[in-house]
Symmetry: C2
Subunit: 342 residues, 2 copies
Amino acid sequence: MPDLRKDPIVGRWVIVAKSRARRPHDFETTPKVHSGRLCPFCEGNEALTPAEIIAYRNPGSQPNGEGWRVRVVPNKFPALEIEGDLQKRGDGIYDMMRGVGAHEVIIESPSHILSTADLSEEGLREVLWIYRDRLVDLKRDKRLVYGMIFKNVGEAAGASLEHSHSQLIVTPIVPIAVREEMQGSQEFFRFRGRCVFCDMAHQELATEKRIVLDLPGYVAFCPFASRFAFETWILPKAHHSHFETIDKQGIEDLARTLKQVMLRIEAALDRPAYNYILHTAPFDTHELGHYHWHLEIIPRLTKTAGFEWGTGFYINSVPPEEAAAFLREIDAENLRSLSQAG
Amino acid sequence: MPDLRKDPIVGRWVIVAKSRARRPHDFETTPKVHSGRLCPFCEGNEALTPAEIIAYRNPGSQPNGEGWRVRVVPNKFPALEIEGDLQKRGDGIYDMMRGVGAHEVIIESPSHILSTADLSEEGLREVLWIYRDRLVDLKRDKRLVYGMIFKNVGEAAGASLEHSHSQLIVTPIVPIAVREEMQGSQEFFRFRGRCVFCDMAHQELATEKRIVLDLPGYVAFCPFASRFAFETWILPKAHHSHFETIDKQGIEDLARTLKQVMLRIEAALDRPAYNYILHTAPFDTHELGHYHWHLEIIPRLTKTAGFEWGTGFYINSVPPEEAAAFLREIDAENLRSLSQAG
C-alpha cells in the first residue's frame, strides 16, 4: 500500500507509492500515449480493464460487457487503495498515514474519441452525472474527505491513453491547494461578507473583457491572474460550494457551456493538450457561504519550468483579455465543422 | 511593461507579460532547445547578448569581449523590467502593480557545456560567488523584496538554450511558495522553538536512510515527502536564513557538494533534464531563526499532470529511501569517467 506523507514545512501531502522494484533507468523517458494499439477503453474490450464500479448501460446489457455509454472502473495502477484503515503515525518530525483512498477512471464514451469536445452534449451530460454519482457514493466513506476529478488530454498533459477519460482520486486529507482556496475565500468572506467567486463572476460579467461565454447558468472567463495562456474557468452563476448538489438543469447548462468552451479552445489552439480540474468543497463540510465550486481548464501550450512549482510564481505571456477576446470571436463556421468532424 | 497581478482567492502573484502581438497559433508547439546553432552564450559571441552586468574576467580583458569565466547579462526577453515605480493599484476586487524587477542570466562558462556537473569545482565556486554578488547588489533596491535563483537544464525542464546557465528573477513581492515556507517554518518555530530545517537535517543524519551525501558543511538528502522521483535537497548544516551571507569556506563546501550530487544524479539517470531552485529568505528580513536557506534539485523524469498544479497533490513512484540508496551507491568509477568526459 502507498504512503501518504506530509511535508513538515508547508504541510503538503504527497502520495509515495510502494516501489515496484523499478530501476532508475525506467524513468529516463516519459511514457508515450499508446495510439493504434488495442484500446482497453473501447467497447468490446471491457475484459482489459478491472471490473466496472458503475456504468450507464443500455437496457438488457450486462456489467463488463458491451452496451454501455459511460463506464467507471478502478485505475489499474491506483495511486491509492480502498481497503484498510489509515494508521496515522509519526516518525520523528514527520507525519504519515497509509495511502487509503480511491483512484477511478471514468471512460467517457464507448467510441475511441479523444476529447471532451468530441462528445455530444447528451454524452457530456452523462459524464457529468456520473461525476456526481461517484462523489455522492464515495462521500459516505467517513475515512475520505476529498474527491478530486480531473482530466488529462494529450501526452503533454500527462495522459497515457488517448481514449477520452477522466480520473477521480479520493483522499483522506484535503489537498493543499484546496485548503488554500478554502482559507483564502474564508478570509475574503470574513472581511467583505461575500463570496470571492461570486464577486469575480459579477465583475467579469460587468466588465466583459475577460468573458469567453455567458450562457444560462454558467459563465466562462479567463481569470484576471491567469497562470497559463488561455486558462479558462467555468463558474455556476448561482452560489454552490459542492458540485455534487448540482441538479438536472445545472447538468444540462454545464454540458452546453463546457462543450462550447472546449470547441472554442480546440478551434483556437488546434486541439491542444489540456487538463481540467473540478474544484469543489471537501466532503466533511456542509454548504459553505465562502466557497464556490468551479472548473479550471488549462491548455498545455508551454512547458512549465520547475521554478514555477518551486516558487508558485507563474509567467503568462498571453494576457487573459486577449485570450478571452480570441476565444469569444472564434467564428461559428469553424465551430460547426469541428463539431461535425468530432 | 508587464503587469504583476494577484489572484484574489489565494493571493498568488502572476507575471502577465505585455502582448507581443502573437497569434494563438504561435503557442501550438513548445520551443525546442537550439542545438548546433550559433550559441549566444559561448565565448566570442558576446555581441549576441545584451551588455553584461558583471563578469569575472581574466586580467586585461574588456567588458563584453572575450576573457571571462562567468558572465551575467540581462535576459533578452525579460519577464520583469528594472525601470520605474510600482504603481500599486486596484481594479474592483483585483490588485495589481507594474512588473518592476530584474531578470538576469548567469552564463556559467565560456565553453559550451551543458550542465552543472560539467563545471570544474573551481568554476562552480565562481558561479556561486556571482549568485551571491548579484543578490547583494539587487537587495539595495528598496522596491525589490525577493531574489529567485534557478536553473533549467534540458528541454523537458523548460530550457530554451543548452549552454549551461542559471537565471535570477528579482520581484517586488514574495512568491507564494516562499511565503508558505516562511509561514510554515515560523509556526513550527513557535510550537517547538527550533528551526524545522535544522530538525530535518538532524533526523536525516541520524537515520541515514535518505542521505545522499554527508560532507563538511552540507548534507544532501531525498526529502521524506519528495514530490518528484530523485528530488534532492542540499542544506547547510549550520543555520543560515539568507544565502547571500555565505562565506568563502561555505562556497567551497557547497561547490564540492553540489558537484558531487549532480554527478551522481547524472550517472544514475543518464543526464536527465532537471531544475534546481535556491530557496532563501526575502531581502527585507534580517537573519531569521526559523528559516534556513537550501537548494532543491528536481530531475524531470515524468510529465507533471495539470491536476498536480491544481491541487498541490503529487504522486511519486520512487520512495526517497530508494532514490537516496541508489544515489549513495553510484560507484566511484562511473563518477570519475563521467567527470573526465565533462
